[in-house]
Subunit: 612 residues, 2 copies
């Protein structure tokens, strides 16, 4: 098929063999690629029977039809597995070059089965696959491991995905990084890679994947590049990175302060952390993923203070928020340093920042004290303590060992007072957006298959003024109105699932390439003729397939609840007095989805969507 | 008041001060002593607001009116606190001499508040209280710490309660041991002591507590001693210890085999572990608690195999079952060694054996594998692995770190398959009795305030032939009949709560001192004039007070459920085909208790029982 390789590489780590799978054509038609096709293959390879931290949990890396083509914003890849953090469906995606190179090596995906007894790394070079000893690399951080693997191969053209010490130690929110700073951050897939004792995966390929209409596709590439360059969001993202709109996000009340308990903070402190301040203070250069004209990636260098001279990648908005206002820190130098440290150790900055901020609240409320925390006084804004805890999490030392299990399990250690304060859905820590600020986060967080997630159904863009006319949203929705949201969230989830099955960067939506545009490109590349309705149906199928998997893993309405703390209205700030309307929306949403009142996918829905 | 000291010693570990509390007389009248009065004081000292592993969790040691008097079977003491294992009400009791000495030192109880920065031990010698540095003792096992503290004090008359390394490391089922082998085993109170950094508590006192009718009481003492000596159970317990009826328990199907999955095992193996075999193989001597003519305690010495020459205390029935058939081990030498090791490290043998056996099942079912277990193959019956895991639990090393959190939390790491196999109520691992064998265990386990517990409402004695005519049970109940059980369990719970508030060893009931007898003794000692109905009312009040505390901690019907695994009928053995009837009993029990359908104590019930 055009735009696909029709091949998945399956590596069996138990006996160090590999084979090439040619998925049935129906799989591609029904699930395209990315996390959609990943979910389907997950079932075939025993994912439903495997527990998250057994080596039988298949770890699946997927690209899509647009990945690696000469087309902007299509350089990403997905990783999927059962999440050790939530115990439910887990997935995450990352930018850089790794995905494009996997595609050009001739594969639409890579499935890791079983586990090795001793540390290994995998080299995929076009059709040449090698599993090499990595005992000398075990214990290295994720950047250092990447460097050593490249050195070992002796060819800088390779992209390498690695785990740091956190993945080795099965920190439940361990990440998989690639290309020195790009990260599959969420749901702890680094721990799955750690259990398999795979330290790294190096890929390189130079095959061009053919597309259906080469000429038109080439022309479209140049047009698309122009469109992206012209889009206002591009300039903003290029200049100030994903943290560009920090102040605006704060004004909406969307930015959490003091672990979701305050509506306002000192505006001067907010300004110190905003994109423009960050640009001025620490930006050394920008960094683009494969063929991306936006280049939202940041390279920083700290120019003053105790960390002077330290340089690295980031920080993204999520990191600035999590290590900033969430824990009452207003020092961008420190945040850049902390975020970089998380990348090196290989832990998700959202979960890490959240669990540390949560510990600060537990400490303040006397739910824990220093006799439980190895003598450490975990006070709001204490930067030295934060660095110490990041290290203790990574190595599972003392109290860090409990933090390494995430917010939900930490709370469960201390009973119902703590549970009432813990902010997560399905065990995944909230990203840095507040459902009190945009009603659409309510259902987006509640029903996202991987737990509280800001990248599925960012309906809040509609609330902020962006339109999606292709799917019926040609004007903004009121951010506090909840009646319009069940349908909007459902539709956005469906279209996002489709877009993710092609594996595109989310920023195309805001960067000049709306849904219609990308769909046309997809049709040019594949020679298919999908309509928006087809796309919605495919997205709906994928979303429901993952929900069905989650139902098998024990998810029902109880796991769709928002945390109690988020129903406490804030007395000041952009969300003053507003709370999410979960109760008022959830059953309508279930009805629209074709799920029963317990949140279980109905048989007729599975049949309608042709899910086996 | 006669038989009471009217004094509780309150030690504040934050500022190393202490004071003497004189509880209101109404407290004694309403809750007597033991865990009843302990629960009342727990509320006064901030227990409801404290999380289990904060130093604010008050750790309360209690004795009762009969403790330390010249009377048999009254040498025990209770410890109470919020349980780190369940996060709900926690309590346990222990024999030996420690309780009698605390009473004779002039106290009805000891409350530890706050926590020390550095390890300390406490010396209570009549009215002389000292808090001493214990930095040199931190890291010692519980026996060695007892020895060193005695040496340090220079007076062998002291009894010492200590924690081992498990309590220091906050293993969630860490125990508090005293008198070289007597143990407050359940609900993890050793971890609470560890958080407070109290390594040991040495007590000695020589005051005689006066009783109401000295002459009659003295005469009653001699009569009681005779009665106990004559009781058939005494001879059995003295000769073979608590493990005397191992075979009989197996015949009923009450003994769990292969982590609650098999109904039968090789009868020769069962015989090898029975009391008589144990007596023959390893008994070196018997050991009695304060003034106890039964002396069920065992001193063992291993006479062959790799542990030849090792001697120690135990093993009790629970330990033999947990480290025996539960994990398919039939070597009594090994079991004695493993149990002794648990005592030294300071961990509960029931929870430790359970969590290890559970790990064996997870390993067999591929829910975990050796890449998650630090390379250890956790196979059924592997004795070397068991010893290794006991150590790893104690020091929270690697995979042992997860085991140290108990069965419930271990299961939660691995999702719904694991949760379906985990055998606990409220997070407390089942003791070694199977609800499929005696229907009364169903409600006893479901509703005991500390979680699955065999010492409250051992209604199964009625099912096995013992009678309690004072409370209306003058003939045995059928063991598989469930209709009679809600009332029987309620009544037994109430009377047991009363007996525990006096602080008596359970064996008086089977050892010649039935309820009537003990109640008369109580009246002689105190000068009160309680009837059996009064006793039942006091017991009911205490039971409901603890339930009310648990409601505050989040307990409702969801926490009263039995584990799914126990509803799978066994195809062979003494319980063949029978499963517990939880659904059929629970609402009737709630009705009898005056709780609502969610298991919450109704306001009118609190008022009726005069609970504030």
């Amino acid at each position: 098929m055009y735009a696909f390789n029709d091949k998945i590489l399956v590596v069996d780590l138990d006996d160090k063999t590999f084979e090439t799978l040619k998925p049935p054509i129906g799989y591609y038609k029904k699930y395209i690629g990315g996390s959609g096709l990943g979910a389907r293959l997950f079932i075939d390879y025993g994912g439903l029977e495997a527990s998250p931290l057994s080596k039988n949990n298949p770890l699946i890396f997927m690209v899509g039809p647009l990945t690696g083509l000469t087309y902007p914003l299509a350089g990403r890849h997905f990783a999927c597995a059962r999440s050790p953090l939530t115990t439910f469906w887990g997935q995450g995606s990352s930018g850089g070059y790794w995905g494009a190179k996997l595609k050009k090596a001739g594969y639409d995906g890579l499935i890791l089965l079983g586990g090795s007894d001793k540390p290994v790394y995998i080299v995929i070079s076009n059709n040449d696959i090698e599993i090499r000893d990595a005992q000398g690399l075990w214990g290295l951080d994720s950047f250092k491991a990447e460097e050593e693997i490249k050195k070992d191969i002796g060819d800088k053209k390779f992209s390498v995905a690695t785990i740091g010490q956190a993945g080795e130690n099965r920190v439940l929110f361990a990440a998989i990084q690639n290309d020195r700073g790009r990260v599959v951050g969420r749901t702890g897939l680094g721990a799955v890679m750690g259990v398999k004792k795979v330290k790294g995966i190096a890929v390189y390929g130079d095959r061009e994947v053919s597309v259906y209409d080469e000429d038109m596709f080439k022309r479209r590439y140049y047009e698309s590049i122009k469109k992206v360059r012209k889009a206002p969001a591009t300039k903003i993202l290029r200049t100030h990175g994903t943290n560009a709109l920090f102040e605006q996000i704060y004004e909406y009340g969307d930015l959490p302060v003091k672990y979701w308990s305050l509506g306002v903070w000192d505006i001067e402190k907010i300004r110190k952390l905003s994109g423009p301040s960050m640009t001025q203070a620490i930006l050394r250069g920008v960094k683009a993923c494969y063929l991306c004209p936006i280049a939202c990636g940041r390279e920083f260098e700290i120019k003053e203070g105790p960390c002077k001279g330290v340089s690295g990648h980031g920080p993204e908005y999520e990191t600035v928020a999590a290590f900033g206002p969430l824990m009452l820190i207003d020092d961008i130098n420190f945040i850049a340093y902390a975020g970089d440290l998380c990348n090196r150790y290989g832990i998700d900055t959202i979960s890490a920042g959240s669990v540390i901020a949560f510990a600060m609240e537990l400490y303040e409320k006397n739910i824990i004290d220093k006799n439980e925390t190895d003598g450490i006084e975990i006070r709001w804004g204490d930067k030295e303590v934060v660095i110490k805890l990041i290290r203790m999490i990574t190595f599972r030392e003392g109290f860090g060992n409990y933090l390494a299990d995430g917010v939900r399990r930490l709370a469960e250690r201390y009973g119902e007072q703590a549970k009432k304060l813990a902010v997560h859905v399905k065990g995944l820590e909230f990203p840095m957006h507040d459902p009190r600020a945009f009603e659409s986060w309510t259902l987006a967080y509640a029903t996202s298959n991987r737990g509280a997630c800001h990248t599925y159904a960012s309906t809040y863009y509609i609330e902020k003024g962006l339109t999606f006319p292709e799917i019926g949203y040609d004007k903004p929705l009121d951010r506090f109105d909840y009646k319009s949201k069940p349908l909007a969230v459902k539709k956005l989830q469906d279209i996002y699932e489709f877009l993710d099955s092609m594996v595109m960067c989310r920023f195309h939506l805001y960067g000049g390439l709306p849904i219609r545009d990308v769909l046309d490109t997809f049709n040019l590349a594949t020679g298919w003729n999908l309509t928006v309705d087809d796309a919605l149906l495919i997205g709906e199928r994928i979303f429901n397939l993952k929900r069905w998997i989650n139902n098998k893993f024990g998810v029902d309405i109880e796991e769709d609840r928002l945390p109690e703390k988020i129903f406490i209205p804030l007395s000041e700030g952009g969300t003053k007095g507003h709370i999410p309307h979960w109760n008022e929306q959830i059953y309508e949403y279930y009805r629209l989805r074709g799920w029963d009142e317990r949140g279980i996918v109905k048989k007729e829905t599975l049949e309608r969507l042709d899910i086996p």
